[in-house]
């Protein structure tokens, strides 16, 4: 065996990346000048026709453009020309706001559902019907009632983030081990203290799993929501650059969306590790 597993995995990853870049570069490079073309016609048609150049940008162009964005992330030249940092900040802000409101609603409600079989039975039909609704289906209703596109986007994030947290919290609370509840009962621990010192720590890993699923969904949905409402945000940026036919910028936005989503997930994974207890 040579090297640790981590090292060997890193080598494979880097090699795959290199192969991907190389393939990409070869596929998008020009196939040489077209011979015998009328110069007037060539001027009209641009590099795509004359050089056999693909309209799809290559890795070098993306790299150069990415560098350009990274060196000026926060410029603001009016409504349709803002730095990527500003656009991402808008999206992250909306996601966090909608998500936090969802946390505040879902966790106490999940506790109630998990602790009370009556509430579980009573609220279950609502959850079952509301859960499978695509969050974007709420958008017209939100726009009509809220009359503000930015707040509507936040509402859509809220409505999509709430279900995994609600269901996981209720499940985690309801399936706290009987023996731990019995310990609390024999020690005559009051309801509130029981909820915070027994049920919450016991259900915390399950709750965090729900929170992690929710942030992932919220970040998925914000891109689509911003495409619909427009104005600002990374989703709007993608759609705007598509209208500008700047595939380069679309690809860069895709990469950044993935990166931010990963950071969200890793942050919550770290929190989850803090509250997980070994048996």
């Amino acid at each position: 065996m040579s090297g640790s597993l981590t090292l060997r995995a890193a080598i494979v990853s880097v090699a795959l990346f290199a192969v991907l870049l190389l393939g990409w570069h070869l596929a998008t490079r020009g196939s040489g000048a077209a011979a015998g073309m009328d110069p007037e016609y060539a001027k009209l048609m641009g590099a795509t026709a004359t050089q056999g150049k693909s309209a799809m940008p290559g890795p070098l162009e993306i790299g150069a453009k990415l560098w350009e964005h990274l060196s000026r992330p926060f410029y603001d030249n009016g409504p349709n020309d803002k730095g990527l940092g500003i656009q991402l900040a808008y999206s992250i802000g909306r996601v966090l706001l909608g998500y936090l409101i969802a946390v505040v609603v879902a966790i106490p409600l999940g506790f109630l559902i998990g602790m009370s079989p009556l509430m579980h039975k009573a609220l279950d039909p609502y959850i079952q019907i509301l859960k499978p609704i695509s969050p974007l289906a709420w958008m017209p209703l939100a726009l009509y009632t809220i009359k503000d596109s930015s707040v509507s986007a936040i509402f859509v994030i809220f409505i999509c983030a709430i279900w995994p947290m609600l269901i996981n919290t209720a499940f985690g609370v309801a399936s706290v081990r009987r023996e731990w509840i019995n310990v609390a009962r024999t020690l005559e621990v009051g309801t509130l203290r029981r909820a915070f010192t027994v049920i919450l720590p016991a259900a915390a890993p399950t709750i965090l799993t729900g929170m992690r699923i929710s942030i992932g969904i919220a970040w998925l949905v914000i891109v689509a929501a911003e495409m619909l409402v427009g104005g600002t945000g990374i989703g709007y940026f993608v759609w705007n650059e598509w209208n500008n036919l700047s595939i380069t910028n679309v690809i860069i936005a895709i990469l950044l969306i993935g990166l931010v989503g990963m950071v969200f997930d890793q942050l919550l994974a770290r929190v989850a590790r803090l509250v997980t207890f070994p048996e």
């Binding site: 009962r185 020690l187 027994v198």
Partner: protein, 307 residues
Amino acid sequence: MSDFISIEAIAKRYPTRGGGTTTIFENLWLSMGRGEFGCIIGHSGCGKTTILNVLAGLDRPDDGTVIVDGEAIDGTSLDRAVIFQSHALFPWRTVLGNVAFAVSSKWPKWNAAKVKAHARGFIDLVGLSGAEAKHPSELSGGMKQRVGIARALSISPKILLMDEPFSALDALTRGTLQDEVRRICLETGQTTFMITHDVDEAIYLADRIFLMTNGPGAVLAEVVENPLPKDRVRTDLHRHPLYYATRNHILDFLVTRSKTFTAAANGHDPRNVPVVRPGIGEPTLVALAPAITDDIARPAGITGRHS
């Protein structure tokens, strides 16, 4: 004898699928004195755990009442501590945290320092000094159960209830923990009620052993008074002249009489269960049924555990 614990005519029934009811036991009477160590033995399904849960207040009888220290019990109480079979420690709390949780439940007004000092005292008592900061996942099965014992004792309960506390432990660990429990109970005069499958454990620990017939429809058939001296030692138990008489009597009950016992045929009065005190001249090997001879033929020290 003044009854410190008095179980009076309790019954437990469960609805069956067909709409009828299964009676686990009914009209069950049992009493214990203060400072007494009582052990209940019977096969699985006879309702031993239900009786313990009723005593703990975790379960309610369908009929009858339980009176402890002159008062009918209503639900759980900090006067009655339970040691669970599966130790039931909170894995997210340390050893000290687990014991302190119980202490601060009993005395909510105490400050943190007082709670910790009190909890430490009981961690010392079960021989776990130095392990206060460990989490349950870092402890062996025996150590976990020690923490369970410390947690139960830390609230100074009037009654200690134990549901097969040592059944998940290996034989060596079980032995040492039995010694610890006996030492602590004798030192503090703790009233204790315990469920076990282990005949030797019952003979070593209990002052009185309650024999239950098989369920459903289980009855408390007999109370065996332990004839062994108070200063008995676990390792010398089998050398005592009355040890085999007691053990054989209990095994005989578990192997045959627990199945065949019918209350009606024996004129059994559930309020006045016969108290038996095995002595020399009681059932000897000659008189035993073949099924038991196998059991007895095994070397002394191997316990006859029935599950």
